[in-house]
Structure formats: structure tokens, C-alpha cells
Symmetry: C2
Subunit: 148 residues, 2 copies
């Protein structure tokens, strides 16, 4: 398991590379997403920063700016569906994966399936496309919600 320190180093490198500055805010937001085992939207990230670092009087605009930047440089990823807007998760060493989402309680389960990945590649090639990315979301009702 790659640890935060390594990823924070990555952040510093990327920033320097682009002539951008290393700031507390950027580090804090990245760390939150690395350490939480959940998918958060911008509001939630903002709330957590304010809770954990109340001395950081961080603005929502900075949260949005930072999330966009971190996604651009692939340190975090997003999924979006329904009304909840974009939700982010940190990219640790985790393999690429897709999501199953419970439409009743919002629970998210991650999965990875090699066969599907391979088929996607084939399909894209057959259509003359060069894949840059893909997302796949399965919507359903989770066990617990089925029981209720």
C-alpha cells in the first residue's frame, strides 16, 4: 500500500513541473481523499476540511479549483450520476475500477472485471476509437435495501 507521503511527493513534483505552488490547501484536500474510504462531492470535502482544520479558513472556490486540478493530473478520480453531482475519490495504488451504486441508499461498491475491460478495448478498436478512459456504473438495489 502506497502511503500518503509518496502521493504528496507526487503532488509536489506535478506542481513544480507546471510552475505552480505547493500550498497547505492543496495538500489537505488531497490527503482527505486519500484517507477516506468513500466518495465525496465538493461540499463534503469542504465540510471535512473545515472540521479537521478549522484554522484553515478554506473557501469553497478553492475546493472546486483544487478538485479540478487534482483530477486533471490524475491524483484523484470522479464519478457522477443522479442528483448528487460529481463525487471524488483518491487514487492510491488502487487499480482502475468501476462502480455499483444502490439507488435506494446511495451505497457504492467498487469492482474490477478483466473480461469487461478487454471487451471494451476490442469494441473501441473495432470502431476506430483510441480509448482514453471509460466509466461504467451499474445501478441497483443493495442486499440491505432489498430486505426492507
Amino acid at each position: 500500500m502506497q502511503n500518503d507521503k509518496t502521493v504528496l511527493e507526487d503532488l509536489k513534483v506535478v506542481l513544480k513541473d507546471k510552475g505552480m505552488k505547493y500550498t497547505e490547501q492543496r495538500a489537505v484536500i488531497l490527503q482527505i481523499l486519500l484517507n477516506i474510504d468513500d466518495h465525496l462531492n465538493a461540499e463534503e470535502v469542504h465540510r471535512i476540511v473545515k472540521e479537521k482544520y478549522p484554522e484553515q479558513n478554506i473557501g469553497i472556490a478553492t475546493v472546486y479549483r483544487t478538485l479540478n486540478f487534482l483530477e486533471d493530473v490524475n491524483l484523484i478520480s470522479s464519478i457522477s450520476f443522479g442528483k448528487d453531482g460529481k463525487k471524488y475519490e483518491g487514487n492510491v495504488t488502487k487499480e482502475h475500477h468501476d462502480h455499483i451504486i444502490c439507488t435506494s441508499c446511495g451505497k457504492i461498491v467498487e469492482f474490477f472485471d478483466e473480461d469487461i475491460e478487454k471487451r471494451q478495448e476490442d469494441i473501441a478498436n473495432k470502431n476506430g476509437f483510441k480509448i482514453t478512459d471509460h466509466t461504467m456504473q451499474i445501478f441497483g438495489i443493495c442486499q440491505k435495501c432489498q430486505e426492507n
Copy 2:
């Protein structure tokens, strides 16, 4: 190939069923989505209605209300990604299908893959989920854009 008339009949039935009224606006919006071989967002639908039926002084609110309704009753479907917001397409007899999207020019290609569908079902079951729906989007660069 099922034709518009049949789908318009479906619309009438659904509306009556729900104690709702059959209106020109609803029919026009549905027909546009059935006849165009493309994926349109609300603004685009609104623009086309105004172009094709200038005497219909249709409001954007009606477009949104109608699109939401038509999707609810499964006469149209939507995909959403990136900045473009939700895009809609009419449900003719078309099978369920997924999308490959060119991130350079916006071109959308539809595909259907039985293997993937089956794997998705398996994965959901294995995780205790009962599938209600799924979406899959492959992002890439289409042939034409690769050449430029």
C-alpha cells in the same frame, strides 16, 4: 422498424393512464427525439422545436418538464457526461446499448455487447445487488480526430 405513430399512441396511453393530458408540446418533443439520429440536450431540443415549429412559442421549462416525464415513462433515455449535461435520445425499438464518445469532436457511437451485459449481471449478483439499470461510457478519440 416501429414508427412514430405507434410511439405517439404509446404516449397517449401513458398519459391517459396517469390522468395527464395529451398536448402538442409533448408530442412534438417526443417526435423530435424519435426522428433525429443524435443525442440532444434540453437546450438543443428547445432550439429545434423553435426552428421547426416557430408558431409553438414553447418555453424551456416545458422542455425540461417534458424530457423528465418522457424519461420516467421510458419513451426516451438519457446519458450524461462531461460539461454537456444530460443528453437524450428517443427509444424506438432499439435494443439497450452503450456509448463510445469522442472527447475531441463529441461524436457518439452506440454499441451493444452481450458478453459485457452478462458479466455485469454476474457482478451485481455476486455483490448482492439487484440491477435496475446501468450505463457505460467509453471515452476516446475517433478515427477522424486521430488523423488531424
